[in-house]
């Protein structure tokens, strides 16, 4: 955690560098601060994964409409203000990135943040320790 998964219709990446967007979104997450000015998301926990769909359908099929869905899953217990800060920052980053494409085509963009309600949670890799001193 936090994991940001981006699902999108085929062809969206033809008009837009999605790898660059992933990096921007990760940087945006790293920059989020809580009310006390502390980094909200630990550096080693920030992950963005983007997946173009292989098959898709949007709306009533009346045009070549695209869609990008951003789903951020975070741990429980953060404040509503932090949720809003994170969501607004990510949406602003995505909006800016897609601005040129939105001039040329119709695109649905939705961003949602979920608090994980997991009944089991384990981390057992070797990435977090590398960033332990960086928050």
């Amino acid at each position: 955690m936090p994991h940001l998964v981006v699902l999108y219709t085929p062809g969206v990446d033809a008009g837009c560098d999605m790898t660059a967007l992933c990096r921007k979104l990760a940087d945006t997450m790293l920059a989020v601060r809580d009310e006390a000015g502390r980094q909200v998301f630990p550096t080693g926990g920030v992950r963005v994964l983007a997946y173009p769909a292989t098959h898709a359908a949007v709306a009533d099929g009346s045009g070549d409409h695209g869609f990008v869905y951003f789903n951020l899953r975070i741990g429980r217990g953060r404040s509503a203000a932090t949720h809003k800060a994170a969501g607004d920052a990510l949406a602003a980053t995505a909006r800016e990135h897609f601005a040129p494409l939105l001039q040329t085509r119709r695109l649905g963009l939705t961003l949602q943040i979920d608090e994980g309600q997991e009944v089991y949670d384990a981390r057992f890799g070797n990435l977090h320790p590398l960033f332990a001193s960086k928050g």
Copy 2:
């Protein structure tokens, strides 16, 4: 919202046109009506994304068994009757589409509807306005 994400084992699409299925599922969602006869899902919000897995394992590995998982995420607050109407309609569409394939191979088919419990929700594309007058 609503988002229908379809995850399936590799090779299922060899026996079945998944792009056509996505369109049928989207049309099914558009046709769902509530108790008062109103369209449940706004046209501009209907999205179906299908993803074949790159790697998979099913059951005990005793045969080339396939699996398709349909997950529909919708907004909160709709009635149980609407949930059932949407689920039954989507399952009927999928069942009909897979009927030929089910004659030739074993396939697990599961459809679940989740109500999103998101703590942040933003839409910032230009697709919804196009359909605003169509519900």
Copy 3:
């Protein structure tokens, strides 16, 4: 149910046989027993699907860090002890499988179990009956 979905950064599968991992994880799920010694997950319901991301970003981008996320979705109502048994067993299987790769690179590994809170659930394939007698 249960569905185990594995999402990972591009390139992780270059150092690791992910199809073999899926099979090991499915076998691990099949071997989970509850407090009374009964098989927890019905054979015909065990599914593992793995998806390499097409685009990704991890942490602060300071190295070629990888990430693998295991999300198991199960039905409601199982005990905390069963959740822990399933989670610990799956994490042990994954840890062993990734041990060689963890010698050569940084990899974040997270495993979470969610209880589905679906408002609609239908199974309509022909796979479950094949295993009905096997639990």
